[in-house]
Structures are given as C-alpha cells and as structure tokens.
Symmetry: C2
Subunit: 377 residues, 2 copies
Amino acid sequence: MGQRVGCLGGGQLGRMLGLAGLPLGLQFTFLEPLADAAAAVVGRQLLGAYDDPDLLRQLGEESDLVTFEFESVPESSASLLARSGRVFPPPRALAVGQDRLLEKQLFQSLGVETAAYAEVGSDAELKQAAQVGFPAILKTRRLGYDGHGQRLVQDASQLGDAWGELDRAPSILERVVTFQRELSILSVRGASGEAAAYPPVENHHQEGILRLTLAPAPGLTPELREKAATIASSIVEELDYVGVLAVELFQVEGRLLANEIAPRVHNSGHWTMDGAVCSQFENHLRAGLGWPLGGTEAKGYTAMLNLLGEDPDPSELLTIPGAHIHLYGKEPRPRRKLGHLNIVGDDPNQVTAQLRAAAQVLRVRLPVSLDPDDIWR
Amino acid sequence: MGQRVGCLGGGQLGRMLGLAGLPLGLQFTFLEPLADAAAAVVGRQLLGAYDDPDLLRQLGEESDLVTFEFESVPESSASLLARSGRVFPPPRALAVGQDRLLEKQLFQSLGVETAAYAEVGSDAELKQAAQVGFPAILKTRRLGYDGHGQRLVQDASQLGDAWGELDRAPSILERVVTFQRELSILSVRGASGEAAAYPPVENHHQEGILRLTLAPAPGLTPELREKAATIASSIVEELDYVGVLAVELFQVEGRLLANEIAPRVHNSGHWTMDGAVCSQFENHLRAGLGWPLGGTEAKGYTAMLNLLGEDPDPSELLTIPGAHIHLYGKEPRPRRKLGHLNIVGDDPNQVTAQLRAAAQVLRVRLPVSLDPDDIWR
C-alpha cells in the first residue's frame, strides 16, 4: 500500500490535499478539533486540539510524512511532530511565516524589496518607527487573521494608542503602499532541491477576503514575471524549503514589493486544480515525498472565484461552459469560504464573459471591472 | 449539505465517482461485499452482498439518488432500489446490458450494424444458427466476464459440444469479425434529454484485458466519427438513458459494427479524467442529478495505460512530463487492474514518446506499434 500522510488541520486545504493524493495511492490522517471536518471525507480524522501531545504523537506514528494546512502551528506541536518522522515544510519556514518581522528580514536579506517598515518592541522603538512615514499600519509580529491584530495609523500622534490597542504586543510598523495590484506567486521545491514556480497571478479581495484570482496575471511584463520567479526561488532556496510556498507581492509600477509568505498550499493557487498541468496540491505532496514535480505551466486562462457565505446551486453554475465547481462540504456561515469556482478556457474574452455570467448567477459583485480590455490584454 | 449518492458496487469506478463528486458537494454510500473496498475512502461503505434486501433498503433510504458501478446488477436489487428513490441508469438499460441477445436486437432495431448472429435456445435454433458462418463464437446471453461463457467454434460439427460446455445456457452464435481495430464511444445523457458524446477512442487489449486507450482515436475519418456519434446517440435516446453509457465498436474498413454496450462509466473513458473538459465520472453524476452536462471535448491527445498486477513506483513514472497517475488502493494480484496512467499533451509525437517511456519504466510490452506514424497521424 501507499504512503501515509499526516496533516495538521482538516479544513478545505487538507480536503483538497486528500483529493489530490488518493489517486497517487496515498492515505491520509488529519488532526483537527472541529467535528465533521471538511477533510474527514478523504481520510481519518483525529479529533482534538492542534497541540494535544497524545494525538500529535499518534499522528506522527501513523504517518510516513507529515504536513500542515496552516502556518500558525504551535511551535511545540511542530517540534513534537519533527521528532516522530519526516515533516514538511521545514520548521524554519513555519517560524518565518508566523512572524512578520522575521518575514521582512528574510526578504531584506535576499535583496527583495518590501514596504518601509520598522520593528516595534519598546517605546523607544515605537517612537523611532515613525520614520517609515505615514499613513502606516501597526501589525503584531505574530500572525493575525484577516486583518486582526492590525491598526491603521495616520500620523505619529496615534502610534501610542494604536500600540495600546494591540496590547503592546511585539509588532512592526509598515508604511502603507499605494500599489497597482496584488500579485502572488506559488513556488514548489522538492526534497532533492528541484524547484519550479507557477505563473504569477492577480488577486482581488473584498472585505479582507480573497474573492477573485486571475491566472496568469493579466498583462504582466516578461521582466516582472521573471522578477517574481526570482523572488520565489530565492526564498525557497534560502529556507531549504520542501512543498508549496506562496509569496504575496504588491506591484508598484515596475517594482514588486514582497508582502508576506504562506508556507503551504494557498487560496490564490486554487486555479491550478483546473488551469495548470499539475495542481498545487499534487505538487505539494510530490515535493514532500521526494517525487519528481509536476508541470507548473498554465493551460489557457483561469478565473478563480471564491464561493463565500452560502452554497451555490451547481445546476445553475454548471450552465457556464468551462466552469469547475469545488465545494468543501462546510456549513454555510456569512463570509465563510465554502468553495470556489474555476473558469478555464483558451480564449480570455470567453473566460471573461463566463466570469461575468457566474457573477450574475451567484448575484455577487465582482471586485474588478469586467471590461475584457481590463482583464487579459 | 449536498445530495447523497448511493452506489451499488465499491470498486475503482465507485472510487472515481466519489473523487469526482465530492467537489460537487455530494456525499457517497457504497454497497460492496469486499472489505476495504477501493471506494470506501471517499464515502461510507455498507458491507454486504449486492442482493442483501436490508442493505439495499438502507442504501435506498440514505440516498437521494442511486447508481451502479457494474451492469450485472441482480434484477431483484435493481427493482428494490427503484422503489426507494431515483435510480439511474434506467432498469431497461441494465437489462439490455446484461443480455447479449437483447443488446443485438437493440442495435438491429436502430439500424446499427453488428456481426452476423443468431439466437441459440434450442437444438433446432442451434442447427439453424450455423447459417451465420464460421469461425463463430458461441456466447451465453447473460453476461460473462473477460471471456468466460464463450466458446470459439470452427465449424458446424463443433456446435453441439460447445453448447454442452456452456451447459446449454441460452446463448447467441456470432460470426467472428475480422476488424481493423476496436473503438469505443462514450455518450452521456441527462434527465432532461440533453445528450453529448466524447470523441471515439481506440482500444487495445492484452489477454482479454483492456491495456491501452488512445484518445481521440487516431486517424478516424470525420464520416466514421459522425457515424459513431449517431450510433451512441440513437442508443441513449432509445433507452431514455440517464448517465454515461459506453458502446464498443469494431471498425471494418469504412464500417462500424456495434459489439456491446456498458450502461455505466467505462475503463475506456478513464482518459477523460485528464484529457477532456469534464470527466466521464463528473458527467455521469451531473446527468443523474439533472444538472447541465460538462464539456466532452478532448484537450489534446491522451494515452491511457492500465496498470495491471503490481503497483508502479510513482517516483519513476512521474519523471514523465504530462503523466497523471490514478491508483485505486487495491491489493496487487496478477492481472488485476490497480490503476491507470493518463499521458496528456498537445503534441501527439510527444505523447507517443512519453507512452514509450512509461512502458519502459513499467517494463511492459505495449499492444501497439509505437511508430508515431501508427498512432496519431
């Protein structure tokens, strides 16, 4: 029988890892505190907390290799798992992904541009941080989620209150960047050092939640495409990384500023399930297993639309040619990610038209003008 | 939550139905007597016989719709399930698919050519059947499996013994056809009557087991492509069919002779998982649910190679670009279908070269010359 993969976390990312891994002959176990986890249909669920030492030990013992569905893995859990077997991505990547300061320092050490920033760990540092300029955002170093742990600061006089509201947690102050658009690039690196990157994509958020990804990023110049690939490859090399890693980037004219990394499969990579030769989920597993990586080339044009808050009616959505539905089996709740839709085609105008049709069916407002000239040019 | 699909049979076809259906928000229950069924990882397994009335009732009650993984469904089971809810494909299609005589009569009634054949139910009929010509094959009407229930007959003098060896079961005598190649075509028809067909494919067997499918069928003339589609559509219309149905065809010069139908997803359609817009598994479910059908167009060229008898080493196979592995999680056993490999690409020469490479990795002999001119012309 095939190898056994353990996964810390049993949400939709775990579910999609399982769906990609079962055809490869893999078996899955998920450690997840939520009953009826999205991933439980494709593997065994260990029901309990992410830091339950007994369950962690069990997960490690029952798995030939272990991976993570999210980056905020308790350090104690990661090291417990690391003792019991092959773990990927490497602990250092988790540590960097959990800490905005380490993240920024990593970018800096690799010569990757970022927004101006400063460390805030004391009143003295807070005062000095003002030199990054305003408006700025004060962010706790440890990961917040969807905008938690952040305060917008308009000038130096607001700094003290803002930090107080963040309970004076270790933070960074980051100058607000006026960017043309947000891009991301997914890189995958195998245990042997073999690495590849998917084409950079363009992301659009609504209320702090990813709504739409356009793949490949429309109208990206070859220079910027190359630049994004170089950034991604320098990061995975530096971290001696194994698996899929996402880098979020701001495009500011001809420059790319790195915003953050996610050491895992990523929502902005869901388009790869239908729009790339090999999906991010399969490639993450192939990397961890030491197997050859799959092709990262785009097949045509893909628009990935997140399905939020309520279950769509597939019978309506599937009237749209080229539409592929991916539901996570989760209970509907406002703004909750319940699934996504990939619309794939060879003709960008057609994909654009189909995206417009999907928005109508779903009665959602798209975060981007649907003038075909504005999308894939 | 999504709809609940019941499936009689929990082998690899059920498993791949599940893998296709989970992203559509469906939930699966499989009735299957074999413990650790291939499909059990993507749904709940009811462990028991296909004709266990209690389990059949349970399957029916717990499912919003029910389908079948094989055509030799006991009639009593089909009618029990039909009472409890929506069942597809329709019982008549199962009846026809189980009986070589009804099958031949269906073809005939639709003006679809077949090999010369005659019914054999009595000594008088046996004697008269000789008029179909020799060599011929005596086949029991009820479905055999992989060549069981068949006897090759060289002349009229052998007929009596051959029928005796088949226990004088109701049979047909069928003239042996010298054909250029075997083709198959998969059709899908929805509850609303919407129908579509995948492009016809070319099949190669070894020792009675499908080994290789080339999709689309190399060098098929537009006339024959059209003819195959007409045959498929006339059959699904006549049967008021719902779901995917396969038709096996013999090509004899410019003619197509229908050999048999399979009222279910089919091994010769596995290429659609990576090589068509929408897979046969997803389309079978969409048809049963009354949802719009997905695209049946081929994306480039696909070679589907069955993995028989022993588990391959994915780390070797995946060095081949464009290779997609689908393993079924079954225990290895000689000649057993354990998985399949889809090799997809835009360039037929490249796909041919990759197929050659795969055969080398697997150390198998291919049932077809690998001269690129012989494959996709």
